[in-house]
């Protein structure tokens, strides 16, 4: 089982890391310092490890790092910063959709993918799009509300870029 140098594009940064074939994208991202990607069930049940892989939300625990080579990867931290949060991140805070916070990055990634496809989703569409994400603090009501608030905010303020990736220039903490 020989490691190989894998090129990963994460939140606009390029990383070249030596990885064994059995390392998941989840492990690789966390080791690179993208600890906003959470390790939950490692079975595809909980969605805590969700990232955008070429724009599609996927469970990074079920993707091998080698399979993600040269794909565009976006994590929750790539959507906004503390000073310039993404409307979804702001709405989750404002709506009280965050309790322990462990599921939040995954929910925001799934919600981002939904709003990219459907700018004005119905409640059913929101619940369907988030059905691969589990919140054990039972905050689904507020989470749905947060997505609705973000959708309204984005449509009110169309100048907000679809993806803030290009504006994030400081590397995430933990990057060597």
């Amino acid at each position: 089982m020989q490691p190989k140098i894998v090129t990963l594009y994460v939140n606009g940064h390029t990383h070249q890391v030596a990885l064994a074939p059995n390392v998941t994208l989840l492990q690789a991202l966390r080791d690179l310092g993208y600890t906003d990607v959470k390790n939950g069930c490692e079975k595809g049940d909980c969605g805590a490890c969700a990232v955008l892989l070429n724009g599609q939300p996927v469970n990074s625990c079920l993707v091998l790092a080698w399979q993600a080579e040269r794909a565009e990867i976006v994590t929750d931290a790539g959507l906004g910063t503390i000073d310039h949060p993404h409307p979804l991140q702001e709405a989750f805070a404002d709506a009280g959709a965050v309790q322990c916070g462990y599921c939040t990055p995954g929910f925001i990634i799934a919600a981002k993918a939904l709003l990219d496809r459907v700018p004005h989703p119905t409640e059913d569409q929101i619940r369907e799009a988030l059905s691969g994400n589990l919140c054990r603090c039972t905050g689904y009501g507020q989470i749905v509300e947060a997505v609705q608030m973000a959708a309204e905010k984005i449509s009110r303020n169309q100048v907000f870029p679809k993806n803030l990736v290009s504006e994030v220039d400081s590397p995430p903490r933990g990057v060597p």
Binding site: M1, A20, P21, N22, V23, T24, E42, K43, G44, D45, G47, A50, L53, Q56, P57, V58, N59, C61, L62, V63, L64, W66, Q67, A110, D124, Q125, R127, E128, A129, S131, G132, N133
Partner: protein, 331 residues
């Protein structure tokens, strides 16, 4: 933590087939990984018959090498594409097509809506973006969501190897729990089914313990060629069944057809009585087990109910009825 394995990364379909030819049974194709990687983490992969039809179960320790085929969907056109080949009257879906694409595909909505309904109930949206049609069938779970709809559509699978391509009907392909007719040097490259007759209508029903991310307790697909399409529930009992196909999932070691139930409907008006009789006969085709999702007795009862509901769907609703909204309800 995943156990150690080698990982082959072919860039083209021919390269992948060469790797399979050289590697033999030691090389396991990896597509979306949504089932395989989960099994490997648990260390209990029951996979890979030495030869077709052999019901031996290999322990996971023997799987030493995976071959990634998830990249091939983008680089190899037919492998990653849904297409309708009008010339030979078939719809073909590449083995590398993600389940999420089946949900959105206009061709599937038109020529195999029953498959689209099943795709909407498949796991959850995140899994659907990775899981592939070929992977779902080749993994051969008795509860594979795409198998019953494809059985009623009369689908066959294309198995490619370095030596050539052969077609096998899906019914002959699925042999048992994680057992298929795929030879170790073959890759499931496509699934195809004949364009259904204009008066054909299908329906899919699935009972699971929750709405999303749930393995079927029982799943049922039906496809009926009708004398004419029902216009509303008022026409219940006035539509005649020319030919019916009924497939059941999670009630036997492999997804099965309920042939006796299909026969009893042939040439009959789809009345509540005829439907009830077919549903009763469908139960006789099952060979259910007790597991953590339900008892054998419960599965038999649910099979009868779901077959009745699915047949009632096609007997009463115009096929254009929008199916598959999230709030449609479990089963």
């Amino acid at each position: 933590m995943l156990p150690e394995f080698e990982l082959l990364m072919p860039h083209t379909l021919p390269e992948a087939l060469d790797m399979l030819a050289q590697g033999g049974p030691d090389v396991v194709p990896l597509a979306g990984g949504t089932a395989l990687l989960v099994d490997m983490r648990g260390g209990h992969l029951h996979h890979l018959p030495e030869s077709a039809g052999e019901y031996t179960r290999e322990p996971f320790g023997k799987v030493k090498c995976l071959m990634d085929v998830s990249h091939l969907a983008a680089s190899s056109e037919p492998f990653g594409k849904v297409e309708c080949r009008r010339e030979d009257g078939h719809v073909a879906v590449g083995g590398g097509v993600a389940i999420a694409e089946l949900v959105d595909s206009p061709l599937v909505a038109r020529y195999g809506p029953v498959l689209g309904q099943a795709a909407r109930r498949f796991a959850n949206p995140l899994v659907r973006n990775r899981a592939t049609l070929g992977g779902n069938l080749a993994y051969a779970s008795p509860a594979a969501d795409t198998a019953p709809p494809l059985l009623v559509l009369g689908a066959e699978v294309e198995l490619a190897s370095a030596a050539g391509t052969r077609r096998v009907s899906l019914e002959d392909f699925l042999l048992g729990v994680h057992q298929t007719a795929r030879r170790p040097d073959e890759l499931l490259t496509a699934v195809r089914w004949p364009v259904p007759a204009p008066q054909a209508a299908g329906a899919y029903r699935k009972l699971a313990l929750r709405q999303a991310t749930a393995v079927s307790v029982v799943s049922v697909a039906v496809m009926v060629e009708l004398s004419h399409l029902p216009e509303s529930s008022q026409s219940f009992g006035k539509v005649e069944c020319r030919q019916a196909r009924i497939a059941l999932g999670a009630v036997a070691p492999r997804p099965i057809r309920a042939h006796a139930a299909e026969e009893v409907l042939r040439g009959q008006p789809l009345t509540p009585e005829a439907i009830a009789e077919a549903a009763r006969l469908a139960v006789e085709a099952t060979c259910c087990i007790d597991d953590l999702r339900g008892s054998a007795a419960y599965r038999q009862r649910v099979t009868e109910v779901l077959v009745r509901r699915a047949l009632t769907d096609v007997a009463t609703f115009p096929p254009s009825r929008k199916l598959g909204s999230f709030r449609e309800g479990n089963s």
